[in-house]
Structures are given as C-alpha cells and as structure tokens.
C-alpha cells in the first residue's frame, strides 16, 4: 500500500513538466497580455478576444486546412511507398537488394537543413515554389519516408514465412500475396507509420518556411510565427491562442484514440 502511494506520488510529480506547459499555453491564451507573466494559474478574466484576433490577422482557417490535408496526403502516400519498399526489402530476394537498402537508408542520416538548398533549387526550377507540392512529394518519396520503410521492413521480416507459402500454393502471385496476405497483417505497423508520418508532417517547420511565401499557402507552424505587432514585437497571447488551436484538437483525438495510438506505436517492430 505504501509502495502504491509512493508510486502515485512519483508519477504525479513527474507529470508536472509534461502537463504544465500545455496547461499554461491554454490558460495564458485567455489572459490579456499584461497578465502573461503573472503567477496566476487561471486568467482573472478569461477572454476569447485573442482567438478572434488570430483569425483576423491571418487566414487561419485556410492555414488549418492546408496543414491538415497535406498531413493526410503525406500519411497515405508514405504508407503506400513504405509498405511496398519495406515488403520488398524484407521478403523478396532480388540482386542488389542489400546495396539498394543501404542506399535508401542514407536518408535516415541526413538532417533536412543539409539538403534543403539543392532541393529548393530543384523545385524552383520546376516552378513549384509557393505550392504545396514540395511539402507532399519530398516526405513521401524522400528522406522522411526512410524511417517508415525501416519500420515496415522490420515488421515484415518478423512475419512467419508459412503464411506466404500457403498463399503461394493457392496460386497467388507476389502482388497478390502482398496485398491479400501481408498487408492486412501489417495493420499495427502501418498504424505506427501513419502516426509518425502525420506528426512529422504536422510539425514540419523549416520546409514550409522555405517553400511557401504567401499567407494563404502557409501551414500552421509557420503561421504561428506571424503574429507580431507593427514594430515586429511578438503578440504573445495571440500566438498562444493560435498555438492552442493547433495543439488541442490533436490532443483530443489522441486522448480518444490513445489505446490504438500507443499500441500501434509499440508495434514498430523494434523487437527486431
């Protein structure tokens, strides 16, 4: 019993730095700017004026939609590319397989800051700057996809070969085996990939800054930086209101679906 109390106490204490920033963000977004640095945990007079200000200063609804649809498209695309490549690297034998895998893995080692300039040049020459294409194509096919491929490969490697043998006996070809047998089994791994990818795209900061230049094309993280007054001074409470609106829906979805969420993540094939 004593042990239990101690454990709960420890957990509660450890929780503080994880929960407090979010709490502070939400409550401070309802404070007038003069109260931001006050010690009070709750705003003395909650105001939602900052929230309407967010929409007045930026096309925030449009930006929300941009972030959302880009993240969804990237997630679906990455799932497809990663499942195909992960499956092939894990289950199909073909000449040069290992070399090609290493080639693909290089992407895991490269910070995006390193290659952003050549990539920008590429998209500039294609006339695709200030469109959402670079934010969609590069994550699906480029470096950000590599972790997903790795996760899928690790999952497929652990799949018992007997299942495929049986399917082959039934006359299924490779594509059929992949689509009918392997893919349905890979649901947890795909779930993990989906979560990783969605978060990655949702949080992307450097790339939107680089590629997008008009406010109605912006994504949320980028939009958050735009709430400044005439002299370039930050409008903290408005920024916090916008930040709250970007964070809270995701948190709510997470709390509702957290079991599938975390169990999906736990299946990232790290057992291998």
């Amino acid at each position: 019993m004593k042990r239990k109390v101690a454990l709960y106490g420890l957990l509660c204490l450890l929780c503080v730095p994880f929960v407090f920033p979010t709490w502070w963000m939400v409550t401070s977004s309802m404070k007038p700017i003069s109260e931001i640095f006050s010690e009070s945990l709750l705003p003395s007079e909650p105001t939602f004026a900052t929230y309407s200000q967010v929409f007045r200063m930026q096309p925030f609804g449009q930006q929300y939609w941009n972030s959302l649809y880009i993240a969804v498209v990237v997630t679906l695309g990455t799932m497809a590319v990663a499942a195909l490549a992960g499956y092939a690297f894990a289950r199909i034998r073909f000449p040069g397989q290992n070399v090609l895998f290493v080639v693909v893995l290089t992407g895991l080692l490269i910070p995006s800051e390193v290659t952003i300039v050549p990539l920008f040049q590429l998209f500039q020459s294609l006339g695709l700057t200030n469109t959402h294409w670079p934010l969609i194509i590069v994550p699906i096919f480029g470096a950000p996809c590599v972790l997903a491929i790795f996760i899928m490969r690790q999952f497929f490697i652990a799949l018992p070969p007997e299942l495929e043998e049986a399917a082959r006996m039934d006359g299924l070809g490779r594509a059929g085996i992949f689509y009918r047998v392997a893919l349905p089994l890979a649901r947890p791994a795909l779930g993990a990939v989906a979560i990783f990818t969605f978060l990655h795209s949702w949080n992307l900061y450097l790339e939107p800054i680089v590629y997008l230049s008009t406010p109605d094309m912006f994504t949320l993280p980028q939009a958050l930086t735009q709430f400044v007054d005439n002299y370039g001074g930050p409008m903290w409470n408005v920024q916090l209101a916008a930040a709250t609106m970007t964070a809270v829906p995701i948190l709510v979805v997470f709390v509702l679906a957290q079991r599938q969420f975390i169990e999906g993540l736990a299946h990232t094939g790290v057992k291998g």
Partner: protein, 295 residues
C-alpha cells in the same frame, strides 16, 4: 521454360516495389547530397553572385576554425546530455508504468502528450516560461528556490535546451520501452526471484539484456535526432549566451544563411553528415557486443 520464371518475375516485382522509394532517394537525398559536396569545393558569394571553384580551401578553413571547434564541443555536450537524460527518463517512466497500478493509462497519456504539441508551439511556451519572471521560476519560488535566469547562463542555457527537448520527445521512447518491457517473459523474473535475485539485480541481469535491441534502436534515433535539433535552439537561445549553445547545425545555419558563406556552410554540412554516419555505423557495430539477440 518461358523467360518469365517465378524467380525472374519475383525480381521484377521486387524492383517495382522498391522503385518509388529508390527513385525518391536518388532525387531527394543522394543527388542533393552530391550537390552539397560540390558546393563545398566552391566559394559561393551569394551577395556578389559569384561561384568560384576553390578546391579544398573550405576544408582547410574547417580545420583552422576555432568557432567550429567550440561548436563541436557544444554539440557533444548537447548530444550526450540529451541521450543520457532521454533514455534514462524514458526507461524510468516505462518501468513505473509497467507496474500493476490502476490508472497507468492516464499517466501514459499525459507523459506522451507533449509529443503531439507542435514543436513551434512547445518551444514558444517554454521560451516564455523560462524567462526570469516566468512560470518555471514561479514554481521554484513556490518551493522556496530562487531560480536562475535560465536562458542567460552558460550552463543553465544548455540544460534548458536539453530538458525542453527531452520532455517534448521522451514519450516516444517511453512507449517503445514499455512495449519491450511487456515482451519480457514473466517466468524469467519468477525464476530469478527463486534464485534470490533482488529487484535491482533482476533489472540489470534480465530486463536490460532483454530490451537491449530497443535500447539500441532508441539510442540511434535519439543521437541522430540530437544532431538535428535546430529550431529549438534558434528560438530559445540563438546559440547563446556567448556561443555556449551554438551546436553544429546552428553554426551551419549561421554561416550559410546569415553570413552568406554558402560554400563554407556546405562544407559544414558534409562534416555533419560524416559525423552522423560514423556514429550510426559505430552503434550498429556495437550491437554485437551488447545487444543480446538479433533477428
């Protein structure tokens, strides 16, 4: 026999399956990387609009650059602090949550929640909370501690950046550890208990070895990730005070984007790539030594 044997067809399917990823890697990773290598051999004056081949000159400059040396030291501290704190905290949380307790799901959710808050929002919030009159010192004052000016002291700035980053992301590693812990067969512990092993010995002798593959994976991801932490430093400290938190990637950004020494920036990129690759390779090699089993 037809030309399209099962094996040949299988090869073809294999190539087709990896084609999107492979072409993507070529176009969006390898070719850009090659270009960065080429830039590093040139003096690229962005303002003047000149692009001039200078051979290894940038690399010589790299060797003589004192600021680079201090950036490497800061990077080493940052990476080491981040990895140690992240992994030990993740493991601690996972072990706590793995106890048979009611309500662990709630705690798991809470510990994981910062992962979902967008990085920019998270950093902004911490920037405000870490001011001398911000909430962190407010909370400390509540406990009777007089908090420092976190982002202005050499050591405290580094600690702040590390801690903010760890709290943001430790949830991911925690979940991975939790899954690994749940995969450790209970009979092993029972047997060890019968042999008279205490909790600490059981943890060291059974848990750690059995979850070592997860430790390896998380440590690789965390180390590689630590070398890419940029926006957080840019917002919280701008590399200061002095140059105490100017890590390699921030220095790269300064040289290339702020000072327009783009050729030299590319040279630093190449160095960064080499370091990341070497570290990963080293850890991968080390797995034979301390990772128990491999599939």
């Amino acid at each position: 026999m037809t030309f399209w044997t099962y094996r040949r067809r299988d090869n073809l399917v294999g190539y087709l399956f990896v084609a999107p990823a492979l072409l993507g890697s070529l176009a969006f990773v390898l070719v850009p990387l090659g270009l960065v290598g080429w830039y590093s051999l040139n003096e690229w004056n962005v303002l003047g609009g000149t692009f001039e081949f200078i051979g290894a000159e940038n690399y010589q400059r790299l060797l003589a650059d004192e600021k680079l040396r201090s950036a490497l030291v800061a990077t080493a501290w940052f990476a080491a602090g981040l990895v140690v704190l992240n992994l030990s905290l993740a493991l601690l949380l996972a072990v706590l949550l793995n106890q048979k307790l009611r309500g662990t799901t709630i705690f798991r959710t809470l510990f994981f929640s910062p992962v979902l808050v967008s990085l920019v929002a998270w950093t902004l919030v911490w920037q405000l909370m870490l001011q001398p009159e911000g909430s962190v010192n407010g909370l400390l004052g509540f406990l009777g501690v007089d908090g420092p000016n976190w982002l202005r002291g050499d050591t405290t700035a580094m600690i702040s950046v590390i801690v903010v980053q760890v709290i943001k992301n430790v949830g991911l590693n925690m979940v991975l550890f939790l899954a690994a812990l749940q995969g450790v067969p209970a009979p092993l512990y029972e047997a060890a208990k019968i042999d008279g092993a205490g909790p600490w010995t059981r943890f060291r002798r059974i848990t750690i070895p059995l979850i070592s593959p997860t430790i390896l994976l998380t440590s690789i991801i965390t180390i590689v990730g630590s070398l890419q932490v940029f926006a957080q430093i840019a917002v919280l400290t701008q590399g200061g005070p002095g140059t105490s938190t100017t890590v390699l990637i921030y220095y790269l950004y300064q040289q290339a984007f702020q000072f327009h020494h783009f050729g030299y920036g590319a040279t630093i990129s190449v160095l960064l790539f080499v370091i990341v690759a070497a570290l990963t390779l080293m850890q991968w090699r080390m797995r034979r030594k301390w990772v128990l089993h491999e599939t």
